[in-house]
């Protein structure tokens, strides 16, 4: 193998598994260390810079970082660090932060931008562009900003106060809001002479289920996302005692749990596919089950049963799943008799689609497959050069953190576009910084010890209280003590092991001390074959091998990054400091940022 090029900014970035997996590349270990140091405000700001909504995401993030967390790979039973809930610790315990954010009024740069839709994608664009002097006009059909974070995510998961606080940090930057304003014509918007338009209208159409009885029972059959929005705006205040929720995703979980709070006593989730194929996050399923909601699988709905014009229940078939060699699933009827389940109300939560009825098709703005706009994956530019898309509107429904990541990138493009630069070739790379953590022979700036503590569970409010009032938050969050303990579980994967070939005397000390057998000195070879003959097999090919230059004995040092604990023992044991522990800070560059005005 060739020697590893550690100058490539992505090499060490990839070692920080959580940050790499985060769509916005939040510097996770950096903020976790700040929490452990009780510097909550600083921890909040590290998050705010990257993901804009730390308080919201600390409660609701889909947390792609956690399955990626190195800690979860250490042992069969070992769980990842509670990265997401630690973010909430920063938000809950922070001090005044507003003075740390860009302070308006901002000198105008003479450019006007329209943002259509007031969800996290648009808000992120506003956050990045307002301080640069852009005049921002934000349009949303509802009376407040936040998009689906407000209309869909129930208050018992995300209190309105938290949402308002973080949305207002942005709106207060001088954003011109046009609420209660549904944009019904793109042509009209184009006529308004904005320098650029960003479309962040989400995926607002809930799927329906056209089965016999659907029309007759319409009064008691609801589309999940419409129903949740109705609840959020208090147009809907109650539901029948017996409720069936159809669907196995997170929307279904929110619908069933909301039903429990609006009078639903016998609430059931019925899913046509097996439990293990359910799209909902495991923790959302747990929470639903904890609220006495049974989940019934392998039961596709066949018919809505209506008597005297009123819904009586639903008839379900029975299937089992079979998978072909490509892993493609087929649901095969088992032949068992159909099942009838009584219901006063049925909520259909089987998916969302994009819909752009308001975009005229003769504007030169191309819509492609599934009515999705044709959008560049890097620049978020549409086929009309000054129209950009992001969030769920761009590539279909995802989640808040993805919408934020899109927002940052779209803002860069809009800024480049408005300044007459090329949106693709003039994009800035990330900023990186690698700093030695050495303080003494056995002393590092970071806390290098590795605790054995198991993941701490977030305490919950009493179930009687939360079911009685849909606005009572279920999770209480970590207090400072639990937050500290959980923070200590982080391995500091951003503190990199950096190897200096010319210093190594090949004494083997690092090999012998490394607890997880990461390091091997051996003859070089091809990657596949090398992975087999290292001191411990390197079977996780998602993780890189760090290969040195050739050493005097004609061998190379090979480090498998997979389960390195970042404990620093290799560097402590190295007599010549050929190993050093160096903190790698990787930051995604934001719109308008140059080296001189970067934070920290």
């Amino acid at each position: 193998m060739k020697p590893t090029n550690i100058q490539d900014p992505e090499y060490f970035h990839k070692v920080v598994d959580c940050q790499y997996a985060c769509p916005a590349h939040t510097p996770v270990p950096e903020y976790i260390r700040l929490i452990a140091a009780e510097r909550y405000t600083a921890a909040y700001m590290v998050n705010w810079e990257s993901n804009v909504f730390p308080g919201i995401l600390g409660r609701t993030c889909d947390r792609p970082c956690e399955p990626a967390c190195r800690r979860g790979r250490l042992e069969d039973e070992e769980e990842p660090v509670a990265i997401c809930r630690l973010k909430r610790v920063a938000a809950d315990h922070k001090g005044e932060v507003k003075h740390l954010m860009p302070q308006g009024p901002f000198a105008s740069n003479g450019k006007k931008i329209a943002l259509i839709g007031g969800g996290p994608a648009s808000l992120t664009v506003a956050r990045d562009l307002a301080p640069l002097g852009y005049e921002i006009h934000l349009y949303d059909e509802w009376n407040k900003g936040g998009g689906m974070m407000r209309t869909q995510i129930p208050a018992f998961r995300l209190p309105e106060t938290v949402l308002d606080e973080e949305v207002n940090y942005i709106l207060d930057m001088g954003v011109h809001t046009h609420f209660n304003h549904y944009v019904s014509s793109m042509r009209d918007m184009l006529d308004k002479d904005y320098d650029a338009i960003f479309v962040g209208t989400g995926a607002p159409k809930g799927r329906d289920l056209n089965l016999p009885g659907r029309e007759e029972a319409d009064a008691n059959i609801h589309i999940g996302i419409e129903w949740l929005a109705g609840v959020a705006f208090e147009h809907i205040k109650s539901v029948g005692k017996k409720v069936i929720v159809l669907g196995g995703g997170n929307t279904a979980m929110d619908c069933c749990r909301t039903s429990r709070r609006l009078g639903g006593e016998a609430v059931k989730v019925v899913v046509r596919s097996p439990f293990k194929d359910m799209k909902a996050s495991p923790w959302e399923i747990d929470d639903a089950q904890h609220e006495d909601i049974p989940i019934m699988n392998n039961m596709p709905p066949k018919e809505f049963v209506v008597e005297n014009g009123k819904l009586k229940g639903v008839i379900f078939g029975n299937v089992r799943a079979e998978y072909d060699e490509n892993g493609r699933r087929k649901l095969i009827p088992t032949g068992e008799p159909d099942v009838f389940i009584e219901a006063d109300d049925v909520i259909i939560a089987i998916g969302q689609d994009n819909a752009f009825p308001w975009i005229e098709r003769d504007l030169g703005l191309e819509l492609g497959k599934w009515d999705l706009p044709v959008v560049n994956k890097v620049t978020f530019q549409s086929t009309l050069p000054h129209v950009f898309f992001g969030g769920d509107a761009a590539f279909g429904p995802e989640n808040v953190i993805t919408a934020v990541a899109h927002g940052h990138q779209a803002a860069i493009s809009i800024d480049l576009f408005c300044q007459g630069d090329d949106v693709l070739t003039d994009r800035p790379g990330p900023t990186t910084n690698l700093i030695s953590q050495k303080m003494g022979i056995h002393e590092w700036i970071y806390d290098s010890g590795v605790t054995n503590d198991d993941r701490y569970a977030v305490p919950h409010e009493d179930k009687r209280k939360t079911l009685a009032n849909r606005k009572v938050e279920v999770e209480l969050g970590f207090d400072e003590r639990l937050g500290f303990k959980e923070a200590q579980r982080c391995l500091n994967c951003d503190v990199q092991t950096v190897f200096n070939t010319s210093r190594c005397i090949e004494c083997d000390a690092c090999v012998d001390i490394c607890p997880t057998s990461c390091i091997t000195f051996t003859k070089n070879g091809e990657e596949e074959e090398l992975r087999e003959r290292l001191n411990a097999p390197a079977q996780n090919t998602d993780q890189e091998l760090y290969v040195s230059e050739t050493l005097p004995t004609l061998r190379v040092m090979i480090k498998d990054e997979d389960v390195c604990l970042h404990c620093g023992l290799c560097a402590e044991r190295c007599p010549t400091s050929a190993w050093d522990m160096q903190k790698y800070l990787y930051q995604v560059t934001k719109a308008g940022q140059t080296c001189s005005n970067l934070v920290e």
Partner: protein
Amino acid sequence: MTYIRPSFRHPGLPKNDIGFTRADYEGAISTLCAGCGHDSISGAIVQACYEMSLEPHRLAKLSGIGCSSKTPTYFLSHSHGFNSVHGRMPSIATGAYMANRDLVYLGVSGDGDTASIGMGQFVHAIRRNLNMVYIVMNNGCYGLTKGQHSATADAGSKSKDGAINPFQSIDLVGMALELGATFVGRSFSGDKTQLVPLIQAAMSHPGFAFLDVLSPCVTFNNKPESTKSYDYVRAHLEATATIDFVPEKKEITVDYAEGSSKNVKLHDGSRIQLHKLAPNWDPTDRGSAVNRLYEAKSKGEILTGLLYIDQESRDLHELENTVHRPLNSLQETDLNPGAAALENINESFR
């Protein structure tokens, strides 16, 4: 600050025939200087025992005084251990071995512990062909007492404080050969490929197996002008043969060209497979080993590898025709055969 080694181990560590991973053979975290050769030898011992599927409770670690003699704390935490007085490890080993021949005895000593204060003890352990592995972690100095030249330091070698050793060195390997040791090898802490199979072969040998392992003292004796430094040793290494240890049950897999390889069968059915690098040398011929050693020395080379093995080795218990069972398992009936037996004995003297 870390003097604590995390308890996580690689989740994919392979298991040996008795279901243990390498981690089951580890000891406490070392307190030796960072980069000390002795730690690598500890690592090689761990690797050797793991690969041989040795049950840790079947091994006893014995040592004297010195940085080297501290190392038994840093490997095989689940084995027996005795840290004796300076230079007196062979006496303790002799006593332990006489009392219980069922254990594997691993003695760890230093060049000071062996070639100075413990020389008399060392010599007699060889003479008695005690069934043990005797490793000298040889750094040419007294590491623990801050680096004074030891008796194995070569004349002219320079230590960290600049002192040049005026005296001739004692070559422990040459001495062991001369004294009739039944297994003699030399290796280097920085060469586990050679050291691990050598330790395995030594543990399988019934009799006194001596290993002189050059082991640089990074703190006091690692100047380029020292003949026990990493650089010097690496530059002057000369191996008798590459060595593979093949346990009893395993097939020999490496094939060497006819004539250059030699298989040595060990007492317990395991084999040592050698790919000879040195001419005019036969590991089972003591004379050829002595000659080869002399030749290498006169050329300024450090000869490593297996030097000599006596396949007919008869150890102390065999020579003394002593009881097979450990003393602590002998019952009163074994120890007191009764009046009739005494009568027989008395009769034989009449």
